[in-house]
Amino acid sequence: VSALPAAAAVATWHCELCGFTYDEAKGHTPEGFAPGTRWEDIPEGWGCPDCGQPKADFQPLNGA
């Protein structure tokens, strides 16, 4: 991952509390996010489906 150019978009975000991961490539159908749905297109009011943490508390998994 570290070999990727710095400009590579962050594609995976994870909930720091419970470890739930959101991969933009895969989306998350049960939450209504089709594959390819970008993180910024996920509503601000959305929370982790496993533990309710707000979107703002998610951290990028790669590219950080």
Binding site: L17, G32, C48, P49, D50, C51, Q53, P54, A56
Partner: protein, 405 residues
């Protein structure tokens, strides 16, 4: 404690080269079977009456929960042992612990249907009827505890088992509202499942039960809007367990008459009131503060009350190690840990819940503990509206700060 990754490489290698320490042995491994046996026992009132021929024996499970369990907690004391972090992956992967939770599910359905059937088909004195309703309700309370443990897992089997566990007592919406609502809003005045200082349990009940239901309804409505699925469909995870409830209760009424519905409702109420009681004591008065940026601080271990009392933890799948649960919501019960210097309850849940049913006793027991837990800082207390001034005077608390410094 330094993070392992921060250690120099040689240190790690030296550690690995050392002879293997004794492998971790979970001393509670077999004790968790009590989490299966006790729900069965509290729901076994009809069997006790049949075996003894004495309706009064139906009170044995009730006495066990409210007298014997708090006594055992006092006598056996606390257990502060934790599994080492290195043993946690193996503990979590060990399916034995899961099978124990699965085994409780049929017991919940048997006890519920058995109690309603027995009550409808036997002439019993009023006190035995009451005891059977309370016993089956307490069993349903253990069912909510089980639904809680299973509903936090992110695989389809355990989530379905959670819905099945919660269905007899008509509380399937709980796992939606709890995971995505309570865990988000915990220890804020907005959370219908966190009680405030000066709020008695009966006032709390009127806020908690309807508030939890509304929150589940809204959360599920929002999710289905995102997925583009119809609200009134089988995709709705609030309606799925509600349909199971409808089928079970309809069968009961069809087979036993309308009186069965009265028993179903009463048993379900007492079961769901066990959750109300747990919610009442788990965060009483504790407040997450608002930061200067307007956001509420993250849930910290000191935002939950804990109990390390051995016996009640054995029968409640470690629910009482509540701080670790809120810090690691998907962590399985066998791996939950104790931490020092956290808000501690003076007994296990059964004993403390019993006290909560007598508000003056509850305030006398818990208000001073709450003040100590927050070091007298009123900005860390969630007050019942209208009670703040009197409580602050009484406990000589400093005025509430505008925001977290």
């Amino acid at each position: 404690v330094p993070e392992v990754s921060a250690l120099p490489e040689e240190t790690l290698m030296t550690t690995q080269a050392l002879p293997q320490a004794e492998p971790y042995r979970d001393r509670k491994r077999h004790a968790w079977l009590l989490s299966v046996l006790v729900p069965f026992f509290v729901g076994a009132g009809p069997l006790l009456i049949e075996w003894s021929g004495q309706p009064l024996w139906s009170w044995l499970p009730i006495a066990f929960i409210y007298l014997v369990v708090p006594m055992l907690d006092l006598m056996l004391g606390e257990d502060q042992s934790n599994p080492p972090e290195s043993a946690v992956p193996a503990l979590e992967a060990d399916r034995y612990y899961r099978y124990i939770t699965y085994a409780v599910v049929p017991i919940l359905w048997l006890v519920f249907a058995g109690a309603v059937t027995y009550l409808c088909t036997h002439t019993l004195p009023w006190h035995a009827q009451l005891a059977l309703v309370l016993g089956a309700g307490l069993c349903g309370g253990f069912g909510i505890n089980l639904g809680h443990e299973l509903g936090h897992k992110n695989n389809a089997l355990e989530r379905w088992l959670a819905k099945i566990a919660l269905a007899p007592t008509a509380y399937g919406h709980f796992f939606i509202e709890h995971n995505r609502g309570h865990h988000r809003d915990v220890a804020t005045p907005q959370d219908p499942a966190s009680s405030r200082m000066g709020e008695n349990i009966y006032t709390f009940l009127l806020r908690e039960m309807p508030g939890g239901f509304r929150r589940a309804w809204h959360l599920e409505r929002d999710r289905l809007q995102r997925t583009g699925q119809a609200f009134w469909s089988l995709h709705n995870e609030v309606l799925q367990p509600a349909l199971m409830t409808l089928v079970l209760w309809t069968v009961m009424v069809a087979a036993l008459g309308w009186v069965a519905l009265v028993y179903c409702v009463c048993i379900a109420f007492w079961a769901n009131f066990q959750l109300t009681s747990a919610n009442y004591i788990e965060h009483y008065g504790l407040l997450r503060r608002t930061q200067p940026d307007g956001r509420v601080e993250r849930c910290q271990p000191h935002h939950s009350w804990n109990s390390n009392h051995i016996f009640s933890n054995w029968i409640l799948f470690h629910l009482q190690r509540h701080s670790d649960h809120h810090s690691h919501p998907t962590r399985r019960y066998q791996s939950l840990r104790h931490f020092d210097a956290l808000p501690e309850l003076p007994n296990g849940y059964m004993g403390v819940m019993l006290v909560s049913y007598f508000p003056p006793l509850w305030y006398a027991l818990m208000d001073p503990r709450l003040v100590r837990a927050v070091h007298g800082d009123a900005s860390r207390i969630s007050f019942q509206p209208g009670k703040a001034e009197a409580l602050m005077r009484r406990y000589q608390l400093q005025p509430v700060n505008e925001a977290l410094a």
